[in-house]
Amino acid sequence: MKALVDTPVATRLEAAARRDRGARRAALGKAAAVCVAPAAVFLLVLIAYPLSRVFWSAFHYVNLTNPTVSGFARLDNFTTVFEDEHFWPSLWRTCEWTVVSVVGEYALGLASAVALAQPIRARSVFRAIVIIPWVIPIVVAGLNWTWMLTPDYGVLNIWMVKLGLMAKPYYWLGNLNSALLTVSFVNIWRSFPFYTISLLAALLSVPREILESAAMDAAGPIRRFVYITMPELKIVSLTLIFIHVIWTAINFDFIWVMTQGGPYNASETLPIMIYRYAMEDFDVGAASALAMMTMGFMLAVFFIYWYGARSSSRESATW
């Protein structure tokens, strides 16, 4: 049998088949390259090139209004950022704004998802209503809230005074202690529906049988929620929190529309600083250095999440 297979004809046939396979693979590779090319060009032009420009500018003197400023800057742009008296307070405020926003969004999103998962009448109507803040453009939402919060003619202040909640109108966006918290509150209001719909979908996929079995074993609603429902929401929750930490930390428009980083820098975060370096100081080098640093912080968050998720999945596999 072996002798038959090893005949020259068989060898030739096998070689021909190998050639065919090779040609097919090459053709497939070409077709794949053609299909991938538009996406690759898109990535190169719209992501890789701007990113590499930012990287280049971070190490060069680049001034938007002064063409004579040029040359390799070594780490000068980073030094400019570190020596800026606003940098550390802005970094702290970025963390504060991100943590308050994401925690608030998650808590409100989870509470509303649990409420909307209950078998109540007109549940679909409530589900539709809850999504409204999320579909309002940030600029429109920001401007409306700014007007509503104005101390002199804002409806919220008037209502709160009439209800006896406050003795006199309060300038929520104009006080050092309340500006950032107020913008965070508005951000929570606008972003929580995204959590609601995502968590609601996860809640509805929790197997009924497990919950019913637990109930039969005398587990109360809180116990069932903590030990059965919450673990089922873990992956969705981690994903939501991770992407919102990034979205919130780099958010520029909400703060800019409502306070422009004020009063007296009380709501200035790193993205606002980047804008100021570029468009007010015209120092594109420093703006790029800070943008690189912000990207570094975000990458660190990503790696923490990735390692966390990986070790968590390993633990689950071991169990």
Binding site: P67, G174, Q260, P263, E280
Partner: protein, 419 residues
Amino acid sequence: MKRLTIGLAAAALAVCGFGAPALADPVTLHFWVAWSPQQADAVGAKKEIAAYEQAHPDVKIDVQNITYDALHDKLLTALAGGDAPDLSWGLPEWLGELSRMGALRDMTEEAKTWPDRSAIYPNVIDALTIDGHLLAMPHYLGIRALLVHEDMLKAAGVASPPKTWDELIADSQAIKQKTGKFGFGIAGTGVRSPQELIMYLAQNGVSLAERQPDGKYRNTWLDDKAKLANATDVFAFYKNLLDKGVINPDGASWGWEEEDTNFGLGQYAMVIDGAWMESRETQNPEAMKDVTISAPPYKEKPATFFEINPFYVYKAGKHPKETWDFVAFMNGKEFQEAVHPNNSPRSDVTTDSKWGRGFTVLAPTGVVFPPVPLGAVTRDMIETLGQTLLKNEEPEAVARWLAASINKDLKQAGELSGN
């Protein structure tokens, strides 16, 4: 038949242009503005531009309306990207940075032979000229004056508007006592606040930066005790406004919108503001009917902020002749009478109303920003008001901080003298 066909074809070709001079495509001028479409000046300007297009069929004006804040950023990025319009509106504070970028077209030669040049106030042309080059044309004048709700003044038993800082404080306290309303309003933040601060500094004999023999600029407060003391007085004045109940404490965070709206609604008695407040008479006729105009109160010498709002014409524009003709038209008597009857840069266009002559008489006391990149400088000025009004810092420390910051900003912009 064949001959007829050939004849018709030849005739058609002749009609289409063969053998005749080709009709030139109309020139399109890209003009970026920042008007409020419903305001009288915008309505008037649109009519005048339409008339200009009708009179010049070879020119088409492509108007793009953008808000002032967005206009600044859009212009800078468009200029850096080589995609600038032919001309635009802009704030006078941008003159230094646009000049530094080399973005502005020098119109000195055209202006020399422009027959209407003598009609423009000489100090207006001077303010738009850097090193002998005319780098912008005037648009309108935003001279600031003291606007007073006279009924509140009368209710407080005050006979005439305050002339000095001390009178302003005393009168405001009287108004607060008698009417319960605040006497004065300021912009603590936003584009308006540096314009008010530069005026108070000028009223006490100090300027932000002075031109030095090497052609560059420097803040000299830290080199001169008298100047530092005068600058300190200005921040002490702001502090007094707050501590003595002259202004609403929220005013520390007001921008121009809050300042104008609250004055228009009669929420407080006096404000330093521009002739555009005339439009509030239409919106709030009852509250605005008692408004009178007078010179801003001062300490050492009378001074007001003289906003010479410019038209910027860009070097990168492809049609310099048509652009000059159009910008000259907008500085012509007909356009100015239709669009800026009260605040024209032309001395032959003015009205006797309080919104006209009430402001133009103050032109000789007007002060302007130095022609240096001002982005960081004005931000630092806003910051000093936060330090004074929100952080309650000592006026002298604030003045010292601003002096050092201005020189740091000038250095960063390559404009610091001796550097």
